[in-house]
């Protein structure tokens, strides 16, 4: 599962070798250690890419071969066969057959198999060898195999298959040098001779499996003892009583990480941004350029970068859960509950991640093979209360709800209001899921199948690479989309010039746009200033806070007030309630729209989703305004 890669489609620079691009593909079943090997070979010289027209992604990287030579390595999705039934299998098949657009036919293939499960994994060797490409068979997890008393004769297997075979441990790094040797010679490799045991008819799964069993028998394969530790741990993690308790602890742990754990780091980042902003203000002469940099760029982009620690911590958490094998158990435990709203266990983690940010959550839905379940999960994920809503909630709640204790010292009216907003988002997600699953996305009869990998220690390299990857994606977004919005807003709020000076905000272009949309949002209790905020927050929800700060700061009547006081001056309690409800339900996030478009390979779903959520938000914000206005 590759949940942690960015929405940007990568274009790789040409290789440094002259002449033809040399590409070697890594193929293997899920959980065979493909990604670990890929990370070993390429390190940081890797990028995530998408093939045109398909949602399946692959990773491309360059392996250094010494003497300034490099070779492209492509990591394909995990598959059990090359029968093109799922999109993953079709992509793998097309790449290896050389019919995938945008990628030359690979010069060679590295087939990576889990040596502890050789007789089954060898089934994939049959379709791979029948392609006739130079192939290196990599038997991975040698340490685990030997540790559990298993044995395999790699030399004999090479003789039987008529292709080179190496026994390695990708996580420990033993034997990887032999893989490099193969890569080094990749352009000169000759197509393999057929295996000694004639290849079976590939469509006949039992025949292929018999072939694999025969093959492993000929190589004196001794299966390892059952993974005792995995069974012992499952005895705890899947225990009828202890299991759900641990599951709850993990969920609470993720939540704590998102909120409390990330707080000091976020405060530190915020302080750094503020200090540097002040420093720029002090060092630069008072020109429009300074205003653009400090008020536009620094506060706009800064308000988003603050979320980086939170997102990284979440991904660290998910990375550990996934690499250790616990994620599959969590999906198993959650399956029944998720089935009640028409979804399945694999939807659980994406939805949980959506509490941090919908963008990684939507990327995490890649683990859901059932396409309809996956789309349903994508469509409801943005209803989960993501961290970008928090600044908006915090501001409005603090401005309008007086703090009174409800249940002891730690649970007051404000916390209750915040919790209520979380519940609102969750309910909207459930209602939408049920609606979708009983109509347009009614499940096909594709069964729920979940393989339970053995527990393994997560490796630091793989975790570190995930986090670096996430940071790059996040900062790229902050540096492009959000930077652009901040600059555009600043320009629109300062034009047209009146006597060479910035106009009153109401007469600026931004103000005119706000006045233009005012009639549409007046039923919700919003005026034109909130209207500008709603428009700028289309880029990202939290932008409204900065926007309102800018507008109130410029405008005469509210100039001297703090943001909270200005908001109270500007909004009725009904309008405030409507604003909260609107932000709970509306899809105010360009990044989410972009990632949904990418993950569903088209504009259809993001447009439907955006329209649905906006209407949903408008209707309930209207009701909230009316109902609250009855009392206050």
């Amino acid at each position: 599962m590759n949940d942690c890669h960015g929405p940007a489609v990568a274009t790789l620079p040409p290789p440094e070798t002259s002449g033809k691009q040399h590409v070697v593909a890594i193929v293997g079943p899920p959980n065979s250690g493909k990604s670990t090997l890929f990370n070993r070979l390429t390190g940081l010289r890797q990028k995530v890419a998408n093939f045109p027209g398909v949602t399946v992604e692959h990773r491309m990287g360059r392996a250094k071969l010494g003497h300034l030579r490099e070779i492209f390595v492509v990591d394909l999705p995990g598959v059990y066969s090359l029968q093109p039934r799922t999109e993953d299998e079709r992509v793998t098949h097309d790449v290896l057959a050389g019919t995938m657009k945008g990628l030359p036919k690979p010069d060679a293939v590295m087939l990576i198999l889990d040596s502890t499960n050789l007789s089954r994994h060898l089934s994939l060797a049959a379709p791979i060898l029948s392609l006739g490409l130079p192939t290196l068979v990599i038997l991975n997890m040698a340490d685990d195999l030997h540790g559990r008393g298993g044995e395999v004769d790699a030399k004999e297997l090479a003789k039987q298959l008529n292709t080179p075979v190496v026994l390695i441990s990708a996580s420990k790094g033993t034997g990887v040098e032999k893989v490099f040797e193969f890569l080094n010679a990749a352009p000169q490799h000759l197509p393999p001779k057929p295996p000694l045991l004639q290849l079976p008819v590939l469509q006949d799964v039992p025949k292929v499996r018999d072939w694999a069993a025969n093959m492993s028998r000929r190589t004196n394969f001794r299966a390892p003892a059952p993974p005792l530790w995995t069974r012992r741990l499952d005895g705890i993690f899947l225990h009828p009583v202890v299991g759900p308790l641990i599951f709850l602890l993990v969920v609470i742990g993720v939540f704590q990480t998102i909120f409390a754990g990330a707080r000091p780091l976020m405060d530190a980042v915020a302080a750094a941004i503020q200090t540097s902003g002040k420093w720029i203000e002090a060092t630069m002469p008072n020109t429009p350029l300074r205003s653009l940099i400090v008020d536009g760029v620094w506060s706009g982009v800064g308000s988003v970068i603050v979320f980086l620690p939170q997102i990284l911590l979440l991904f660290l958490f998910i990375g550990v859960l996934e690499d250790s094998g616990y994620l599959a158990r969590a999906a198993l435990i959650a399956d029944r509950t998720m089935a009640r709203i028409g979804l399945q266990g694999k939807s659980f983690i994406p939805l949980l991640s959506a509490y941090a940010c919908a963008v990684p959550a939507i990327m995490a839905t890649r683990t859901i093979e059932n396409k309809r379940d996956r789309i349903a999960t994508i469509l409801i994920a943005p209803f989960m209360t993501c961290s970008a809503r928090l600044p908006v909630y915090t501001l409005v709640i603090a401005a309008f709800i007086p703090e009174k204790p409800l249940l002891g010292l730690f649970f007051g009216t404000r916390a209750a209001a915040l919790l209520g907003l979380y519940v609102l988002g969750f309910l909207a997600a459930i209602i939408t899921a049920r609606l979708l699953k009983s109509t347009v996305l009614k499940s096909t009869r594709a069964p729920f199948i979940l393989e339970m990998p053995p527990y393994r220690w997560p490796t630091m390299t793989s975790l570190a690479l995930r986090l670096i990857d996430r940071s790059k994606v996040f900062l790229r977004r902050a540096g492009t989309v959000i930077l652009a919005v901040a600059i555009v807003l600043w320009v629109l709020a300062n034009l047209p010039l009146h006597d060479g000076k910035a106009p009153p905000i109401g007469d600026s272009i931004a103000g005119m746009v706000g006045h233009f949309v005012e009639p549409a949002i007046r039923p919700l209790g919003f005026n034109w200033k909130i209207g500008i905020g709603l428009i700028t927050s289309l880029a990202a929800r939290e932008v409204i806070v900065g926007t309102l700060g800018t507008i109130y700061g410029i405008e005469g009547t509210t100039e001297s007030m703090g943001l909270q006081a200005a908001l109270r001056h500007d909004l009725t309690p009904g309008g405030a309630a409507a604003l909260l409800v609107f932000f709970a339900f509306a899809m105010q996030c360009m990044s989410t729209v972009a990632v949904v478009r990418r993950e569903t390979a088209g504009w259809r779903w993001p447009i439907i989703q955006f329209a649905y959520m906006t209407v949903f938000a408008y209707v309930f914000a209207f009701l909230a305004n009316r109902i609250v206005s009855l009392w206050f």
Binding site: Y80, S81, S119, L238, I333, D335, R445, P447, L450, M452
Partner: protein, 85 residues
């Protein structure tokens, strides 16, 4: 449609749901559409092979089955279509 057969299937031939924890059985056939059956076979649910019931989620559904060196979880609605010898 498929759901309606579940009750019949349970009353009918012995299937994977009949296995108690730790108990094994030999798979006879898979009564599912071609695609689903092939996928299950790739994971090791092959006719003539042994299947052992392992842990389950709290509440007993889905259940984990040990086949061909790996562990795979199936929902009850799927497991009833895997017929034992």
């Amino acid at each position: 449609m498929q759901m309606r057969f579940n009750k019949d299937a349970e009353a009918g031939p012995r299937n994977l749901t009949a296995l108690k924890k730790g108990e094994s059985g030999i798979l006879e056939r898979i009564d599912l559409a071609e695609d689903a059956a092939q996928r299950l076979m790739e994971l090791g649910f092959l006719p003539g092979h042994s299947v052992t019931r392992a842990h389950s989620a709290p509440g007993g559904d889905p259940r984990v089955f040990r086949v061909d060196g790996s562990e795979v979880a199936l929902r009850r609605e799927t497991a009833v279509h895997l017929i034992l010898r």
